[in-house]
Amino acid sequence: MLLIVPTLVFLGVFFAFPFLITVQYSIGVTDQFNRLIAGGFTISNFVSAFEGLYFNIFLRSLWIALATTVLCLVLGYPAAYWIGVKSGKMKNLAMLLVIIPFWSSFLIRTYAMMSLLYRGGVINQILLQMNLIREPLDLLYNPFSVMLGMVYNYLPYMILPLYASTEKLDLSLLEAAQSLGANHVKAFLKVTLPLTRPGILAGSILVFVPAVGEFVVPQLLGGTTSVMVGQLIWNQFQSYTGSWTFGSAVSILVVALVLGLMTLFLRYVTKGEAFTI
């Protein structure tokens, strides 16, 4: 029992307590050097977070995260099914090919996406060679490149938990359903889908929650039209004109939103198992 104490103390001091300080900042008043003024109290930071421009950034982040989750699920499910059920001898290789991007940093993979899409990149070179275009296309810095980068980065986070579910599929149940007269679609909807539900839920959480606060992808691949809430927070702390109190308020809202959604979600997930990495 005592073995767990050091971890709890550590997470208390370096994870939970800092959030209390963030709460204090979010309702505090600071001087021009972002130092808290004793006794100051305001809710104006939360109020301005809900104003036009900032609220739109919130909505856009939620929308991009949701779209990323759905696209990753739709794109990843068949691949996870193939790896888990049909890949046979190629299974280890296929798994390794999913694990490698899962283990590589978002930053490097996002940069790799830049190197593919920029004006001098491979796609433009191929199109130029084939005489399909005369001038290189601006494939970067638009909402499309952000979505592409999001799906590209998060796809392994969807495929791995899905695979954990498809791998356990009992194929004889599918055969039973079909021999009892269910067609492919019906067998899929009534047997495969419910059995892989833990993987779908786990994958969706693993993609959606971090995606809401994503910074690197929209920052490196996005233009000014697809700013996400992660960038809003970053700018408050990493630029000289930023406001730490406003950044804290936005951050608290993100955490509250994410934890709220997760609590609702977790009621439907089988404990622990669905998350096994």
């Binding site: 971890t7 994870f15 068949p78 890949s87 930053l107 693993l206 992660g230 927070i233 994410v258």
Partner: protein, 258 residues
């Protein structure tokens, strides 16, 4: 009909896997391309790698990043093993709640954690440096290590420990000679994960490093942000990526031999 469907499924999956590798492939190939401006192939060269390492900053960034990752790995393996042992052996009140809480530092958007750490350090007056980065990384590395080690501990047969103790081994002896060898694949897997998480981390590193502390991810970010795509950065990112690939291969080795 069925065979045909399987073929479509297979080609589709190969396409998805190819999608995961196209950008990486392009980056690696063109780190060897003898052209500064575009991806049009102008012949093989390693000069970008040589030019890269002529700058001393890159060496410092590498050294710092590896140093931080090793310290993070050591601490999270020790605390993660202790946590995993406690959680797999004892039933106590609030255990399942605690189980859920361990996931929060892993899953929560990292930037919210990063800024709260910065505020903590400012509040406590701690000067930013390598140690503040280490402490920041540990909040996700310890839970990661604990969860991985615990999942590998499932099915652990405690009667062998009891046997050792009834034969006269004390607790420390039992742990070192009996328990540790049995759980070591899980411990190694936890160490690999902790190392990679720290090595790859950008957001927390950016918030908790002091001014002038060069780290690999922050160097890559600054170059990409300021100069966009360049052959030197292709080379740097390729080297950085190769470490992650080695880690992923080791991970698969250890997790498939359970």
């Amino acid at each position: 009909m069925r065979k045909f469907g399987d073929k479509i499924l297979k080609s589709y999956s190969v396409f998805v896997l190819a999608f995961l590798y196209m950008p990486i492939f392009s980056m690696v190939v063109f780190s060897f391309n003898d052209s500064r401006l575009t991806a049009a192939w102008r012949g093989f060269t390693v000069r970008w790698y040589i030019e890269l390492f002529n700058g001393s900053d890159i060496w410092t960034a590498f050294y710092n990043t590896i140093f931080v990752a090793l310290v993070v790995t050591a601490v999270s393996v020790i605390l993660g093993t202790a946590t995993a042992l406690a959680m797999s052996r004892y039933n106590f009140r609030g255990k399942s709640t605690l189980d859920g809480y361990l996931y929060i530092p892993i899953i929560i958007p990292e930037i919210t954690e990063a800024l709260s750490l910065l505020l903590l350090y400012v509040w406590a007056g701690v000067p930013l440096g390598l140690m503040t980065i280490v402490l920041g990384h540990l909040t996700f590395a310890i839970p990661f290590a604990a969860l991985v080690i615990r999942s590998r501990m499932a099915g652990f047969d405690r009667s062998v420990e009891e046997a050792a103790q009834s034969l006269g081994a004390n607790e420390i002896h039992t742990f070192l000679r009996v328990t540790l060898p049995i759980i070591s694949p899980g411990v190694i897997a936890g160490a690999l994960l902790a190392f990679t998480q720290s090595y790859d981390d950008f957001i927390k590193t950016a918030f908790t490093r002091g001014p002038g502390v060069d780290m690999l991810p922050t160097t890559i970010y600054n170059l990409a942000r300021r100069g966009g795509v360049s052959p030197e950065l292709n080379a740097l990112a390729t080297i950085a990526l190769s470490v992650s690939i080695v880690m992923a291969i080791l991970w698969q080795k250890f997790s498939s031999s359970k």
